[in-house]
């Protein structure tokens, strides 16, 4: 006999199998980036609070953030913060000023546009963070490698 269905199972199954294309992916990405940012934010508030509560611990926290896996995570965090904002703005602006644009074909285009805008806003920051990662953690100075570099 199949296991009984619960709201939890039904919802998770719906997240995975609903075939809503762009709108569906935007919803999932909005949730994922929101939860990711919240996880980081909670840790970030608590570790930064050590500057007052336990100053000796702060240096250890910062050292962790400088580690390669964390720096890669921060590049992802930058994307999450930007995407969540751009997508949220799409929803707010459509709702408040152009509700006719809720038409599904228009939203499919709008969702694609939010992704393009988010990637454009993220790329410069991501490149700088990647440069810093290679410079500080691997001793590779990408700028010095350019023919017109230092």
């Amino acid at each position: 006999m199949a296991a009984p269905s619960t709201p939890l199972k039904n919802t998770v199954k719906g997240y995975a199998t609903y075939m809503g294309r762009e709108g569906h992916y935007a919803f999932l990405l909005h949730r994922l980036t929101g939860l990711g940012v919240l996880l980081f934010l909670t840790i970030h508030i608590l570790d930064t609070a050590t500057v007052y509560f336990y100053p000796s611990l702060y240096e250890h926290a910062i050292e962790l953030y400088r580690a390669t896996p964390f720096m890669l995570g921060e590049i992802g965090l930058l994307f999450a913060v930007i995407y969540h904002g751009v997508n949220g703005l799409r929803i707010a602006v459509t709702d408040m000023w152009m509700p006719k644009r809720w038409a599904i074909e228009k939203q499919r285009k709008a969702v694609r546009l939010t992704l393009v805008v988010a990637i454009l806003l993220w790329t410069p920051g991501a490149l700088v963070m990647l440069y810093n990662l290679l410079l500080h953690n691997f001793g590779v100075d990408l700028l010095a490698m350019l023919p017109f570099g230092k």
């Binding site: 709201p7 939890l8 919802t11 998770v12 949730r31 929101g34 939860l35 940012v37 919240l38 934010l41 909670t42 508030i45 608590l46 930064t48 609070a49 050590t50 500057v51 007052y52 509560f53 100053p55 000796s56 702060y58 240096e59 910062i62 953030y65 400088r66 720096m71 921060e74 965090l77 930058l78 913060v81 930007i82 904002g85 949220g88 703005l89 707010a92 806003l121 410069p124 920051g125 700088v128 963070m129 810093n132 500080h136």
Partner: protein, 127 residues
């Protein structure tokens, strides 16, 4: 025709919370983006230490900026988490228990963050 917007109904908690999500979200776009771009991209984690934080927390403008971030971003995130939970849990009593736990968690973490912001860094205590 009765205009829905003219009806005077006292907004419920959920209505007020929904409005908070929308307006805090719009406000967080400049606030959070600038914060992350400044600290993670322009300054970078390798240039951040407790002395850097101490200098910033000695500046009233940045303290206010950080209070706004703490107040809006964390509340926005915790209420969003509650919405995700409502999607996954349909039983009223479980929803209530989890909502109260989230409320307590939100208050405690916000209080810890606010205390540190108000008091500032203490680099002289680093051993």
């Amino acid at each position: 025709m009765i205009m829905a917007s003219k009806a005077s109904v006292k907004p419920s908690f959920e209505t007020t919370a929904w409005r908070f999500m929308r307006y805090s979200g719009i406000l967080l776009i400049p606030l959070a983006w600038f914060h992350v771009y400044l600290q993670d991209v322009i300054v970078g984690v390798h240039a951040i230490d407790i002395d850097y934080v101490a200098v910033r927390l000695a500046d009233t403008g940045w303290v206010i900026y950080n209070f706004l971030l703490l107040g809006f971003a964390f509340a926005h995130g915790m209420y969003g988490l509650r919405q995700v939970m409502f999607d996954l849990v349909h039983k009223e009593s479980t929803r209530r228990v989890l909502s109260i736990l989230m409320l307590i968690f939100w208050l405690v973490v916000t209080a810890i963050g606010a205390t540190a912001l108000a008091m500032g860094a203490r680099p002289e205590l680093v051993q």
